[in-house]
Subunit: 344 residues, 2 copies
């Protein structure tokens, strides 16, 4: 699958910076919001950007690597949480309602037969989730391509409904192990540095998780391409989300980047087409330890640092008001001249 | 002026923690939002807290200490920015509109005759602002008492309109110098550690600011009481805000604590009645260096760290959606039992 993503050009940078600097405030006094306003103006190529119909796509998938005892929760929690999403009782439902975000829930490979239940987008690539990457590739390259295409279609639909900004969420017991493996390979880090406690592992559990990943890397090595890496170590939800990100960038949409799992999907998307990064607003710094390495990899300065480690896209939803504030101050604040305020 | 502030008791702590822990998420996965939900439940003494009609009171005042060349902006910017607030063009107006916050603008001693202009609350204690604390007390203890009473009345009015949560903003060229002086005295720090660049001082300017404060402390010493310290080094807007905070706590309201100047007002309020702290939610970590020392003083973990240094209450306004999210997850998320999700 090819994605035609334009690099964001810097044409308007000077005009945007001038507009920001002459608002009635000391230079730089709105901190990271000023950088966010600049970035969004550049993405939309305008001095008066707009946020339209924010969407979050939550993708769920199961992980064969749970066989290795890398999560304190049983695999069935993935489908149970999908049901919770559909019933509106999860954290992401609460925050999406609060901020008027259109939520789409998709099944990329949950080990459960939802039987066509209403409200769930069926983008299953494998009925039972990924294979155990400790023993074999998590999915084939063809399956990975299929997941990318599915994610692409989900985002295209949101765009057709009028959205110009999209975030992603995930659910999948075991997926911090997949994300840590992707970070280890894409970022060239020892697994002991990329693993964390996930949903609540103890110290021995975290050590076991690192060992499972280290052994898998010994087995598979570093694949030749980004997409093979994703197929080898990733998750079906992660691949679907990577495809969604690439399509969002192709369509010129703002991408709200959530925490550890979602940033691993961005590493995959970035390995396929690096221009995707130009469209990203980093929403939060997760409390999962490997996320720091990912943020360094992208030289990202996220909006929030609330010690969240929930996933589901909650960090993206919680950061949306700040993204809107960045756009609002750029559009609505008076300049020194307009307001008759003396500048330095 | 006496404030009868109940210490928040821990009666509901266990029940609130239980409710938070059995939501469908790993324990602690909502990070600082969980602590915020607990705190608000304790303040309101309920397992189902509510946020009602948020208000922000922005108080302006001028500072005699500007004579010492401690700000790169001229004093007239204070009244010009008040006009900007009244016309809706400042950052705080933008963010208050975004979050449906009732904004009240008050003049506690701006060196300008507003001539009864509509929309401005006249709580002037001195026509020309404070005296230069490098030479004499900024205000008398009687004037300080008057400012406390004025702030108290402003908050009481918000409460009567149905608000149960209030933030404070400020405007006053020179007020980072007053705030740094208050921090130096209340917190017992050398002025070189409490001063920062304010609206944009260079290195020599920051050093001069520290020297002005150090000389003033040599002149006045450490006053015997909290209120005398406030009168000696503070600002009329700072004293008004301190009174507002004390009244808010007396009324059981949540206090949204903004940045450097507002936290100096909290130090003053806390020196008058330490129970005020029980009602505070710390909204952001300012980029003004002394704010870190204030947050340590109160062992506070603020919601935002966006490198803001604007004042006006902008940090409080920007944090409000997170405060609401804390309350919303507590009220709306399903428990493991409700949702039929397996717990560990």
């Amino acid at each position: 699958m090819q994605f035609d993503i334009k690099a964001v050009n810097g044409e308007l940078t000077e005009a945007l910076s001038h507009k920001i600097d002459f608002k009635t405030k000391p230079i730089g006094a709105l901190g990271i919001l000023e950088k966010t306003a600049l970035k969004i103006g550049q993405i939309q190529q305008t001095l008066s950007p707009e946020i339209k119909k924010p969407a979050i796509v939550v993708v769920a998938g199961d992980h064969g690597v749970t066989e290795e005892g890398i999560s304190p929760y049983p695999q069935e929690v993935t489908f149970q949480m999908v049901m919770n999403f559909l019933q509106g009782g999860a954290a992401i439902n609460v925050f999406a309602r609060q901020h008027d975000i259109t939520l789409k829930i998709a099944d990329a490979g949950v080990n459960y037969d939802f039987n066509g239940i209403e409200g769930l987008e069926n983008v299953k690539v494998r009925e039972t989730g990924t294979a155990n990457f400790a023993k074999e590739m998590a999915m084939s390259v063809e399956e990975c391509e299929q997941a990318l295409a599915n994610g692409s279609r989900l985002v295209e639909e949101a765009h057709q409904r009028g959205s110009n900004i999209v975030g992603f969420g995930e659910m999948g017991i075991g997926n911090t192990t997949a994300a840590a493996a992707l970070l280890s390979v894409y970022g060239d880090h020892d697994p002991s540095l990329t693993v964390g406690k996930g949903t609540g592992l103890d110290k021995a559990g975290v050590q076991n998780k690192a060992k499972v990943i280290a052994n898998a890397i010994e087995l598979h090595g570093k694949p030749a391409t980004g997409i093979e890496t994703l197929a080898t170590y990733g998750g079906l939800e992660i691949a679907t989300i990577a495809g969604g990100m690439l399509k969002a960038a192709e369509l010129g949409m703002i991408i709200l980047v959530d925490g550890f799992i979602i940033t691993s999907a961005l590493m995959a998307a970035h390995s396929i087409n690096p221009n995707v990064l130009d469209y990203c607003v980093f929403c939060h710094k997760s409390n999962e330890q490997g996320h720091r390495l990912m943020l360094e990899y992208f030289k990202a300065e996220p909006l929030l640092d609330l010690e969240l480690r929930l996933g589901e896209g909650t960090g993206a939803a919680l950061a949306l008001p700040l993204v809107k504030s960045a756009v609002n101050f750029l559009n609505e604040m008076a300049s020194f001249e307009d307001a008759g305020v003396s500048n330095k």
